[in-house]
């Protein structure tokens, strides 16, 4: 009984709060603001990665407002918390687009959250800027992919290992979900196209948060002790990495014997790890905090000042948001309006500086051009760039190494289609 009445009271209080808040925001947002939705989990399992991106967005919006806003109006961030709950991502997107009437959404981290948001953004004709490296095989008219596609991260990393390190045997290790599975499928096809034998590829999947790596590492050790140079290509997701690297270190596998190149381990993840056993292992990204350019050091200074903590780091998805946000701003200025259709038309071809000293461009397939960097982990948790692509690599939505996907092409301004089949000369239609 008691509990019930308490619960009731909480409910009443809660709805009162929402009402009050809603009216507050309603009064604050007069006609002269442009609303920007920030859709990142602030609680639950993904909060570890996404909270930082929310802060990045707030910083970028604040910066832009200091410069006088956009089209003479102030930008107003609308932050919601989808709480690492995939269906809630869709609900919050609907809320942002139909109630808050935001002009653009910056958000999502996991592929499954993006897939959950996708139909809503397409239905309500919104704009979503997605800042994380992902498995590709997707192109939506309403989504802009500012993270790396597989050809901007995985393929160059494998090329580096193959050409510079003479790696002959490959372990593809990943967490058991869509990004590693698709990436590994692409990599396997790519390796085979380069003449790597089936027996020289070992594929291993583990559950989320896997913490007992003893026999997998022992297997890798055995696999690597056959006289050919071996490397591990890791798509192991965030949390499982710490026990994985610890086990590698403890079983005496150094980066020299069997290097691990990871696609999900960045500065932020390293800040929660004792990095001693990781020194020399690698990561492939489009940005490292250690990159020595003026724009980057300015960005880092701003970030440290904004967040008020000298120990915080910057990472690749933050740079992706930086690029995506600036592209959106430029496109809105070019179109003279925040109307979604006008911005979608205007943004293709927009060029903005990235933090590694180059200029990234939005491509007709709604992916961007980026440099690819390979870095080795140093003792201080930063990366030492050991290799980078000569120029910028254009993001490819549909992998050239997968059956059924290599004939597809995405060209929104030209073909008005995200998956045009170049063989049948037909647009396959809505993605997924």
């Amino acid at each position: 009984m008691k509990l019930k009445s308490i619960a009731k009271k909480i409910g009443v209080l809660g709805s009162a709060c929402t009402l009050a808040l809603a009216s507050l925001t309603a009064s604050a947002q007069e006609e002269d603001t442009i609303k920007v939705g920030v859709l990142h989990s602030l609680s639950g399992t993904m909060a570890i990665s996404e909270t930082t991106l929310k802060d990045t967005m707030l910083m970028l919006i604040e910066e832009q407002n200091k410069k006088g806003g956009l089209l003479g109006k102030k930008l107003e961030p609308v932050v919601v918390d989808p709480a690492s709950n995939w269906p809630l991502f869709a609900e919050k997107t609907r809320e942002l687009l139909s109630q808050e009437k935001v002009d653009a959404i910056f958000g999502c981290w996991t592929s499954v959250s993006r897939k959950s948001v996708l139909p809503v953004v397409e239905e309500l004709n919104g704009l979503l800027f997605y800042p994380v490296q992902y498995e590709g095989e997707e192109s939506s008219r309403n989504v802009f992919y500012t993270g790396a596609a597989p050809n901007q991260q995985a393929i160059p990393a494998v090329d580096y290992l193959m050409n510079e390190m003479d790696v002959k045997r490959w372990v593809l290790a990943g967490t058991d979900y869509v990004y590693p599975r698709t990436t590994n499928k692409i990599l396997e096809a790519y390796l085979k196209s380069k003449g790597v034998a089936e027996a020289d590829i070992m594929i291993n999947y583990t559950p989320f948060g896997h913490s007992d790596w003893q026999n997998i590492v022992a297997d890798i050790k055995r696999f690597g002790s056959q006289g050919k140079k071996t490397a591990v290509v890791s798509t192991i997701n965030g949390d499982a990495n710490v026990p994985f690297y610890r086990e590698l270190g403890n079983q005496g596998l150094s980066a020299e014997d069997i290097p691990v190149v990871a696609f999900s381990v960045g500065e932020e993840e390293l800040s929660g790890i004792d990095t001693k056993p990781l020194v020399g292992h690698m990561a492939a990204w489009n940005y490292f905090m250690s990159v020595d350019t003026d724009v980057n050091s300015a960005f880092i200074d701003k970030w440290l000042e904004f967040i008020g903590d000298e120990k915080r780091v910057t990472n690749d998805p933050m740079e992706a948001h930086y690029i995506g946000f600036n592209m959106w701003v430029k496109a809105v200025e070019k179109a003279g309006t925040t109307d979604a259709d006008a911005v979608i038309d205007a943004i293709v071809g927009v060029k903005v500086p990235n933090l590694t000293g180059g200029t990234s461009e939005m491509l007709p397939n709604h992916h961007i051009t980026k440099p690819v960097l390979i870095g080795e982990i140093q003792e201080d948790g930063q990366f030492l760039t050991v290799w980078e692509t000569d120029g910028l690599v254009p993001g490819d939505a549909w992998s050239d190494y997968l059956e059924g996907s290599k004939d597809l092409k995405s060209d929104w301004p030209g073909l008005k289609c995200g998956n045009y089949n170049t063989k049948t000369k037909k647009c396959v239609g809505a993605t997924e």
Binding site: D212, Q214, Q251
Partner: protein, 548 residues
Amino acid sequence: MIVTTTMERLQVLMRLCSALAIATLVALSTPVLAQSEPASATFEQLVNEVAQGSLSKRVDTVAAIAALKHERSADILQALQDGNLKVTRDDSERVVIETADNQILDAQTSEPITGTDLGRLKRIPIHNKLRSQLHTLLAQLNLSHPNDEVRLSAVTRLITDGGDEQTATLLNELKSDEQNSRVREAMDTAIALYQLESENATERLAAVKQLRGSLIPEVRGPLQERADYDSDKDVRIEAQRALDSIEGRLKMFRLGENVFFGLSLGSVFLLSAIGLAITFGVMGVINMAHGELMMIGAYTTWVIQQVFPNQIEYSLFMAIPAAFVVAGLVGIAIERGVIQFLYGRPLETLLATFGISLILQQAARSIFSPLNRAVSLPEWMSGSLQINPAFSITFNRLYILLFGLMVFFALLAILKKTSLGLKVRAVSQNRPMARAVGVRASWVDALTFGLGSGIAGIAGVALSQLTNVGPNLGQAYIIDSFMVVVFGGVGNLWGTLVGAMGLGIVNKFLEPYAGAVLAKVLILVLLILFIQKKPKGLFPQKGRAAAD
């Protein structure tokens, strides 16, 4: 440990070297000095160049330093590899060596630099290519190093790199003077590996015989090649025989390795389940917040390391009692605040404790940030006990296994030998009767729950050495904990021990065949089938207590 001792020895060596250098300077006459002038000048130039240019250019510089065979080449390369070779941040870019006791030596002369302030030093970064090159070069320079361990690792490195005729001859010469049997053995292997490629069939045959039974992984590839393609039939047969004998031994060690992996996973199960065996098993409380109590223990470890940053080696010993107290107090608070009103209503308890677990998780996010915290591993927890090249036991797993058993027996002793244990058992067996003889049941409940929670905290300390310390730590272990307690038999500590170890071993034997994902599924399916057959677990409680 090994690292520090080698470091110390190195320092001693370095000091000896510098003393020697000074002595020679004083003793030798000027003309001799003048003669060695051009060589040493290049050496100094090269040392300066180590800090400059692209990484690939530095590979050449390092090779040149080694090729000089300067008396200090090895020191420089070693310092570069250990990350002790540093460069000043000012324009002079002076290259110095920073020793472990914070002494700064000039890299060119190895004289200590005192008086001048060099400002903050920058470590000269190296990448894998350089690191591996340094290893090889140092191995060649260190073949006649006075220290046995250094010599052994040098020879082992040569085995990995594969030798040429020159190294084989060199090793042959060195072998005759070699005193240490392990180093000699390694040298034999290295020479035999070289001789496998010999033109002479008898030499090849001898080499194959020499390699028979060797567990060094580098041996198998070349032997397989001999067994498959050798022109001489005897060599082929002998190589195949050698391989078979190696395979046989490897299989045995692999089995041993798997058993250890299973026991080690079991010990993690045991640690996480043992607190639950008290709260759930003995008291009958379905505590969904059990995982979060482990999380609290893990965070306590981190806090201790932050408070005593210079005592990382001992931090775990401080963290164990601290985590026990902190988690125990939180547990008592949960029991007094919520659970005591819900005894006998398992469903409500489940919901309430699940709510508490969410509150605790979010509290951790708010207090410590959603990012994981980096708990350092003490030196003695890293590395592995190398029994032979094919079989090693990692120290952290070994210690956690021992620790888990210690906690288990300590708990058993508490329950069997102390008056608190007696009261706990009395209350759990028959609450009204225990109260009738004067046991304060509610007080015992609070203490029991506190004990179970405190042990969860201790488990958290152990887990902090294996996995991430973050808000989600508890969730990863809660299912496993319940699984173990239910499998072992509710209310039976021995059942928990057998259940944990059994599940660990079964898991590790399934994993190689089924993969990690499927192994987990299989275990759960097997468990469900088992519970169908024996609903009360492996060791059901007998007698009156089992009635309810």
